[in-house]
Symmetry: C2
Subunit: 231 residues, 2 copies
C-alpha cells in the first residue's frame, strides 16, 4: 500500500497564524485595559467565540465580530467607539497580514511534491485561505486545495478519495492533534504531528500513543523522510 498523497494543514503548519491571533489578543487586552483584567477578557472572549462557532465558523471575520461582541458585553453595551474602530482595524490588518512560510516548509514541500500528490486541507474563511496560499508562494506545489468547514474522519475520507487514491494510501500532516491527526487516523490514513509553539484551546487533544500509523515529528523537515519510509 504505497502512499501516493500527502495532505497538509495550512495555518500554523505552513505559516504563522496563531501568533497573529495572539498579537491581536494582546492589542485587544490593551484596548480594554480600563474595563477588564486580561484574564477576565480572555475568558469572556473564549466563551463568546465558542458560542458563535456554529454560526461564524473559523476565521478572522468571525473572530473580529466576537471581539466586538465581547467589548459590548463587558461594557454593558457602552463600548467606546474608539474601541470598536480599533477592533475593526485589527481585523482588517489580520486579513492583510503578510504570509511567510515557516522554516523548512519550502524545502519539505518542494521535495515531497516530486514524489507525491500534495493536497492542502484547511479550515477557515474561503477567500482568506485562498489569499494566504497565493501570498505564500506555495500554491503551485499543491495538486489540490480543499477549504473545509470541519475536519472529521469523513472529511479526510472524502478528500483523499477525490484527490488521491483513498485514505489508506495517504498521509496527513498538521499541528493540531484534534483536527489533523486523530480524524485522519480514523479515516485510515497515516498522520504526522508537527507541533507549533502556540495551539488554540479548541485544538488540543492527547497524542494517540502507540498508534501504528502515527508519528510525532519535531519539524516539517522530517516529513519527506518519514513519508518515504512508509514505502
Amino acid at each position: 500500500m504505497r502512499v501516493t498523497t500527502v495532505g497538509l494543514d495550512a495555518d500554523d503548519t505552513l505559516w504563522h497564524n496563531e501568533t497573529i491571533f495572539r498579537l491581536t489578543h494582546d492589542r485587544f487586552a490593551a484596548l480594554m485595559a480600563d474595563v477588564a483584567a486580561p484574564e477576565v477578557l480572555e475568558l469572556r472572549l473564549a466563551e463568546i467565540e465558542r458560542r458563535n462557532l456554529s454560526l461564524y465558523g473559523y476565521g478572522v471575520k468571525g473572530f473580529t465580530l466576537s471581539m466586538i461582541e465581547t467589548a459590548m458585553e463587558l461594557t454593558g453595551n457602552e463600548a467606546p467607539s474608539r474601541v470598536i474602530a480599533e477592533i475593526l482595524a485589527a481585523g482588517r490588518e489580520m486579513l492583510a497580514h503578510p504570509v511567510e512560510p515557516l522554516p523548512g516548509v519550502d524545502a519539505a514541500l518542494a521535495q515531497l511534491s516530486e514524489g507525491y500528490r500534495l493536497v492542502l486541507i484547511t479550515k477557515g474563511d474561503l477567500l482568506h485561505q485562498e489569499q494566504k496560499l497565493a501570498a505564500s508562494g506555495l500554491g503551485d506545489l499543491f495538486a489540490a486545495v480543499e477549504i473545509v468547514s470541519e475536519k472529521t474522519a469523513d472529511t479526510y475520507a472524502r478528500v483523499f478519495e477525490r484527490h488521491g487514491t483513498g485514505a489508506a494510501q495517504a498521509a496527513m500532516c498538521g499541528n493540531s492533534m484534534r483536527s489533523d491527526v486523530l480524524p485522519a487516523l480514523e479515516a485510515g490514513a497515516w498522520a504526522a504531528h508537527v507541533p507549533y509553539p502556540l495551539t488554540w484551546d479548541h485544538e488540543v487533544a492527547d497524542a494517540p500513543a502507540g498508534h501504528g500509523r502515527f508519528a510525532e515529528l519535531a519539524s516539517i523537515s522530517e516529513l519527506p523522510g518519514w513519508v518515504r519510509d512508509l514505502g
Copy 2:
C-alpha cells in the same frame, strides 16, 4: 454533445437571499435614521462594501462588519453602542435565518436529478452556505457542491471538469448575468438566466442577446424542459 451536468447557483436561485439582505438594510436604515438619510446611508454602505470586498469576500460576516464600519464613519466614530449591538444581532439573525426553497425549485431539481449530475456552485461564506444547503433539504439532490470565492470562466471550466464531463456538456443556471451566465458561456457551457426580482448592484450585467447557448427563463420550472431539449 449531450449535456450530462447541470450547475446551479444557490442564493436567489434556489432560495431567498437578497430579500434577507434588503430587510437588514431597512433595519439598518431605521437604526441610523437620526444620523443619515436612507439614500446617503445606502451609498456609503455600498462604497464600504466595495472597498472591503477584496478582504472580506461575499457573505453575511463581511456585510455585518461593513455595516459597523459604515455606522462608525457616518457618526465620526461616535456610533451609539445600541446601534453596534443591533447590527451584531441583525448579522446573527441573517446567519440563522430559515432557508426555504423558492417556488418550483423542489420539483425542478427532483426532475433534473434523475437525468443529470447536479452541481451546486455558489459564492459566500463556506460554513454558511453549507448550513443553508442542509437547512434547505435539497442537499441529497446534488452530486457535488462547490463553494467558490469568485465565479470566472476558469471556475466553471474547473468545476465542470472535476464533477462532470467538461463545460461543453454542462448547463449552468442562476439569477446573476454577471456571475452565473456570462462566465459559464465563456467557459463553453450552456447557460440559463432565471431572474430574481432583486439583484445586487454588483451582479448586474447585460444579457448576451443572440448567444447560441443562452436562454432567458421565466422560472426555474422551465429549466428541466430547456435542458432536455439541448439533447
